[in-house]
Assembly symmetry: none
């Protein structure tokens, strides 16, 4: 609904939007009863909050903890319940594979089986990443295509890898080729709908080929495949919102997500400062920038409150330089919360700050979860962020006469 | 959805609801950093706010700027994305035409074409309104019906007019008969769906007749037609909400919108005081009153902050008399925002105040956009205003057992 309305109403203009996403930003009170944002020294974000309009967003709906895929799709203006990104595709994006619309992607595990084909270790004793790379090279050398379908194998960490099947007519709707438990026989994929029968044949022939090649490579003498997913073929942000968007992200998965919605991917460095430099250097070439900070989430996942706090303080230092670019619209937010106290993604809403010329500045004085409760934007679904950004950039026409 | 639920639950009772709409009420901070409402002297509205429950409404959804049609439909309890009012119909209502369900309405321009039928001026040099009236009379005299379809022509301002085709079987889904640019040939209407083919024939024969009649009336020697729209045939407020509603509005378009949803239209004067008098005089004849103040929007559109402020202050003076009528429910709100700073409709939410015997009075002390952020009603879609009004008037039964 929203996307189609925006497709109808959006205009191409010269104004610029910067969407700064600190991944997993929202937090829960730590041992001093304060969240990361409440405890951090972030004078620039506080000053910005005092002259902005603020609120809180739910990526999916109240109480629902999102993965990175749906959390980002929402922020990019896509209904995360309508457009789904399969696990295999996300994993492929995460290791930096560039997918095409013909791709079917799966997550793989190396595993150990005994002489009867019974799984004794679903993770092949967590073989080393080096061993994994060696085995993936071997598999890739032996298996390049099956029935005209190209096979692309990429190693991940320890026992994990990704396989992508590339060819016309591949379909998803396929069960995991994984019994999920040790002590069971290895399992082949099954078609969950008629259209995927041929794809299942390809996948199962791939499994058989792997079993042949891996014979004698104990403990990694079998594979399990999960999360078989087709490239989602999303309409682009250009098509929907008439934007010419660019992504600045140091982690492959986020560049991959941005590519799925048609963003240009800008080369950038590992450091936070590199990302802000990339923004400045490319500022006149695009009209929408997605700048992604990963480490707030990584340290949240580690349960490392202090380290997460330092990342937020570091980002704060770059706010003045960002404001010097004078974007027509600046949004600072998270995609989801990753409280250190939970060491995981959570369902808590995200602080959302919008700065533009056309706002009713609210009473918020500090950049924090609880302060934003009384923000002028109230609480809203993340997928409405896009219409707010476009509206404040004067990129939307009136609806109806 | 909402309408159908209310249709099921609504009850006819003796209680009365007054919906006072100050058009385009919401604003943005002016040069002193205050909005019109924050700067105006409105002691009566402030006092009322202090004993009411308040909130903010979005006519369509966050970030979407509505036209007058959808903004009003929402307030009247109709889903503005489900029920759409075409441009031609709104224009016809705006010049005071009373439409029927058999009508197809279009906006027209007088234009200038050269000997090859190429448009040299899409506005015929903005001919005078008097000349326009003269030409419309001439056209109406010459063209009264086409193929059994009645043709009604009404002049507007300068080069603009409205034509209504009245007959059974007319359908919309018709392209503009307007190339939108000077230097192009005049264009005939085209059917966008099979059902509208016959209607297109009527419209194009009308265009040909006009070209014959206008020959020699350079610069107004051609016409362009846009926004072809069928009467929307909305279910009435009586049918949906069991109300016997009346409209008090000095501007034709709003009387027209009210008529579309089945309101009785009360005669009233141009002045704000006239409208409040009309309310008092008719107070015992209806159970729902829509009282529309136009000038907050008109001055907003002019970018005239001071004049908009004066209108709000004038309305404030009539609040005590309104309260003396003792309505069971009083709502004071806007249909959309028209900030003087933008000199146009905008996407910003509307202040919404509800006063009744059955409310939880909140902490709000002043009638203003930012004060209402902390109102007890929170932020909600305008289309939910109707259920709130009906509920507070004890006009809704319980849902489910």
């Amino acid at each position: 609904m929203t996307e189609n309305l925006l497709k109808e109403l959006s205009l191409r203009t010269d104004s610029r939007i910067v969407l700064l996403v600190m991944d997993g930003l929202g937090d829960l009170p730590g041992k001093d009863g304060k969240t990361v944002l409440e405890q951090a020294e972030i004078p620039n974000l506080d000053r910005l909050a005092a002259k902005s309009v603020c609120g809180l967003t739910d990526p999916i709906s109240r109480g629902i903890t999102p993965g990175s895929g749906p959390a980002h799709l929402s922020l990019f203006g896509y209904d995360p319940l309508k457009y789904q990104i399969g696990r295999g595709v996300l994993e492929a994006l995460g290791i930096g594979l560039e997918l095409t619309c013909d791709d079917l992607a799966c997550r793989g595990n190396f595993a150990t089986i005994d002489e009867n084909g019974v799984i004794t270790d679903r993770r092949a004793g967590r073989i080393s990443t080096e061993k994994n790379q060696e085995l993936c090279s071997l598999l890739q050398k032996e298996i390049t295509e099956i029935d005209g379908v190209k096979v692309i194998i990429r190693s991940g960490k320890e026992h994990r890898f990704v396989v992508v099947f590339r060819g016309k007519g591949l379909e998803d709707g396929i069960s995991d080729a994984d019994p999920q438990l040790n002590g069971k026989k290895i399992k082949y994929a099954e078609a969950l709908r008629d259209e995927s029968k041929w794809s299942v044949q390809i996948i199962n022939r791939f499994i058989d080929r792997c079993l042949e090649v891996l014979k004698g490579h104990h403990p990694a003498n079998a594979i399990l495949l999960r999360g078989v997913a087709k490239h989602p073929e999303l309409p682009s942000m250009g098509e929907l919102f008439k934007l010419n968007p660019a992504a600045i992200a140091s982690y492959p998965m986020y560049r991959g997500l941005a590519r799925l919605v048609g963003m240009s991917i800008l080369n950038t460095g590992e450091a936070i400062g590199d990302e802000f430099n990339t923004l400045k250097e490319n500022y006149h070439k695009y009209d929408f920038f997605y700048l992604h900070i990963k480490k707030t989430d990584s340290y949240g996942e580690d349960g490392n409150f202090e380290a997460k706090l330092k990342v937020v303080e570091e980002v704060d230092c770059y706010i003045p330089a960002l404001l010097e670019l004078n974007p027509e619209v600046l949004v600072v937010t998270g995609d989801h919360s990753t409280p250190a106290a939970l060491a995981a993604h959570s369902w808590h809403p995200n602080p959302f700050l919008l700065y533009s010329k056309y706002i009713r500045v609210d009473d918020v004085q500090h950049f924090s979860e609880n302060e934003f409760v009384r923000g002028g934007l109230g609480r809203f679904p993340s997928k409405e962020a896009m219409s707010l950004m476009l509206a404040n950039a004067l990129k939307l026409e009136k609806y109806g006469a």
